[in-house]
């Protein structure tokens, strides 16, 4: 039986490699799971992938090679907006379905109807991203008035911050600090201090892992005072960073997509995570893989289920199916809507609680990252105001 080839580029080196390698492990687990069950349409599944080194310039060539030389049957995206978008022209020209992994509003320009984003940001990704954060804040009495928005100078963080800014304006909040910083900053104390000097009640931070660590540490050293602190910090979802920051994390409210809370134990997710934990050993990736890997598994599930449902590899039919079906995945029920985003947002706001010092194991179970928002998935109440 000729295998069904699924092709993609993945960031295995460079800036996004930490995510990319974790995603790859998840995708390989999916492949093995599927093949164990007899493959798709009775054909085994094979993954064909190349390292894009987190460089957009490599992506067009990789997809051209996948399609024209390797002759893959299906394609999915690499990890991250910058590495999804460069593939779009060739994908669109060949009219392929394109399940994508964590691009923020990547289809807003292209409006390609065969693009499907597994990240549960929602139909209005930029705004939905921080909606929960603001809803939580505005539910307090008295309502906070002053907000500081700070973000790293990169594509994801700026988009998140732009959403936060729009939300803040809509809610009539007074933006007292609104600045960006270079991703390669070494010391964050001047930034945190400048924020503090503006006396904000809410501090919304959007940035990548090393920035998050630096900001949280500086905030604790300086004794940052605010009522709500967090928002869009990537990195606080990762076990190694959680372990290192320990109690400094307590009471920070931050976005997430999946946490081991009882409200989110979808069928299959624990089995998947168990396999991931085994496969991740010695690979230098996140040991628990709560953040990206379930979604990397899920976007292939969406693809696989569509192939089974349409009984073929016709991209027109696959797309039609994806547009209307609801999929059962390890990250829950997935239904796509406008621009291929999730029909409704499921960007979680979680709050760190009772985090102990130097304990990795504590993050594998519930109770440390309480889901506050959205209501359907809520597992606890906000502790307000924020205190260190």
């Amino acid at each position: 039986q000729k295998p069904i080839k699924v092709g993609f580029s993945m960031a295995l080196t460079g800036g996004l490699a930490a995510g990319g390698k974790g995603a790859l492990i998840a995708m390989e687990i999916w492949r093995d799971d599927v093949n164990k069950r007899g493959g798709l349409l009775g054909r085994p599944v094979e993954l064909v992938y190349y390292d894009d080194a987190t460089q957009g310039a490599n992506v067009p060539g990789i997809y051209a090679k996948l399609l024209d030389v390797d002759k893959v049957d299906l394609v999915v995206s690499g990890y991250g907006t910058n590495l999804i978008v460069p593939a779009m022209p060739i994908i669109m020209r060949k009219k392929l379905v394109f399940p994508a992994l964590f691009g923020l509003a990547a289809n807003e320009e292209f409006k390609y109807d065969r693009y499907f984003q597994i990240m549960p940001a929602g139909p209005d990704p930029k705004l939905d991203w921080s909606r929960g954060f603001f809803d939580l804040a505005m539910a307090q009495n008295p309502k906070p008035k002053a907000i500081a928005i700070v973000s790293a100078d990169d594509e994801f963080a700026l988009n998140a911050a732009a959403g936060a800014r729009a939300n803040a304006k809509k809610l009539g909040l007074n933006i007292v600090y609104d600045k960006t910083f270079p991703p390669a900053t070494t010391d964050y104390s001047p930034i945190v201090r400048a924020i503090q000097a503006t006396n904000p009640e809410i501090i919304y931070v959007a940035c990548y892992p090393p920035n998050s660590v630096g900001i949280v540490k500086s905030a604790s050293e300086i004794g940052l005072k605010a009522k709500l602190f967090g928002g869009g910090m990537v990195g606080l979802q990762f076990a190694a960073i959680q372990q290192n920051l320990g109690p400094l994390l307590n009471n920070i409210v931050n976005y997430d997509f999946w946490v081991p809370e009882p409200t989110l134990t979808f069928p299959g997710v624990n089995e998947f995570l168990a396999k991931y934990r085994v496969a991740a050993v010695g690979k230098g990736v996140d040991p628990y893989g709560h953040y990206l890997p379930p979604f990397a598994y899920a976007y292939l599930q969406v693809l696989g289920q569509s192939v089974e449902a349409t009984k073929g590899l016709d991209h027109g039919k696959l797309a039609a199916h994806m547009q209307k079906a609801t999929f059962d995945t390890v990250v829950g029920k997935v239904k796509f809507g406008k621009n291929g985003e999730w029909a409704t947002t499921r960007t979680l706001q979680v709050q760190f609680r009772d985090v102990q010092k130097d304990n990795l194991e504590q993050f594998s179970g519930p109770g440390k990252r309480v889901v506050l928002y959205p209501k359907e998935w809520k597992s606890g109440n906000l502790v307000y105001p924020y205190k260190q």
Binding site: A18, K179, P182, P210, S218
Partner: protein
């Protein structure tokens, strides 16, 4: 938004940050400033130092600075070996230093990828009692997470400065790139002098790496961020001058910190490197340079 409190803290934060930059740059001040070897891979060695600190810290709970000191001799040997290769390929045939550039780019990639293959791409951090603690004098804060690297770096700089300026070997290191034959005529073996100095430069990377990981999380490719800064500091200081290097590092740190506090952090690279370019325009040989 301007206040004495902010200003004082911005200056202090800048000084501490600059002190750390000096630790990254000092190895280059020797290898690039004195030996004229364009070791682009130096920051990559710093990352290896950081990983060494991480490994020994997470396995055995060793203090990162201690690890840095312990690892320094091993790094020294690695530096000596690397220099041997460089020597055989370039200097023996009398090549100018520029051709080494591509070589060291290669070395940088090899180090980076070897680290990725061995330890993956996840961010690594260390634990130490002083991380997170703060000393305060009045309204000025000294986070130990920055103060410890600053102090270690200042000591390292002072030690290297004394060594280079007060010993015969130190003077020979300063001279070796200027005229090999002349140095031989002084009774010194240029190859061994360079080898020694190169080893010394790489050894400082062990310490700088341990300081880096005290400050923040490290993954294999973050070294790239420091290439520009480290070289800029050495050049701004005036190539061979160690005190110049230290002052240049402080200037860069203070400028970055001030811009971050009072303007927008986003502009700090432009302002810092703008200041650098301007300084060079006024003093074409850096602050303490010899033309």
């Amino acid at each position: 938004m301007f206040s004495a409190d902010l200003l004082a803290n911005a200056v202090v934060a800048g000084v501490l940050l600059g002190g750390f930059y000096a630790a990254v740059a000092i190895g280059l001040a020797i290898v690039f400033g004195q030996l004229d070897i364009v070791n682009i891979a130096h920051p990559a060695f710093v990352i290896v130092g950081a990983f060494t600190a991480y490994i020994l810290n997470s396995r055995f709970g060793f203090d990162p600075v201690l690890v840095g000191l312990l690892a320094a001799p091993v790094f020294f040997i690695a530096g000596v070996l690397l220099y041997r290769i460089y020597f055989i390929a370039f200097e023996r045939t009398g090549q100018e230093s520029l051709s080494g550039l591509a070589f060291f780019f290669g070395v940088m990639f090899i180090i980076e990828v070897s680290l990725i293959m061995a330890y993956g791409v996840d961010y690594r951090l260390v634990q130490a009692d002083y991380i997170g603690r703060v000393w305060s004098i009045g309204f000025v804060d000294f986070p130990l997470r920055m103060l410890v690297p600053f102090s270690v770096s200042a000591l390292l700089t002072a030690g290297i400065y004394l060594y280079l300026s007060r010993t015969f070997l130190g003077s020979a290191i300063q001279a070796v790139a200027q005229d090999r034959l002349a140095l031989q005529l002084m009774g010194a073996d240029p190859v061994r002098i360079k080898q020694w100095a190169f080893g010394l430069g790489i050894a400082t990377a062990a310490i700088a790496g341990s300081l880096l990981i005290i400050i923040g999380p490290v993954e294999p490719s973050v070294g790239r961020q420091y290439i520009g800064r480290a070289f800029a500091i050495v050049v701004l200081g005036g190539m061979g001058s160690i005190p110049g290097m230290f002052i240049a590092a402080l200037i860069l740190g203070i400028v970055e910190s001030m811009v971050s506090t009072f303007a927008g952090p986003s502009w700090s690279p432009a302002v810092a490197f703008g200041v650098l370019a301007l300084t060079l325009a006024l003093r074409p040989a850096g602050l303490f340079g010899r033309t």
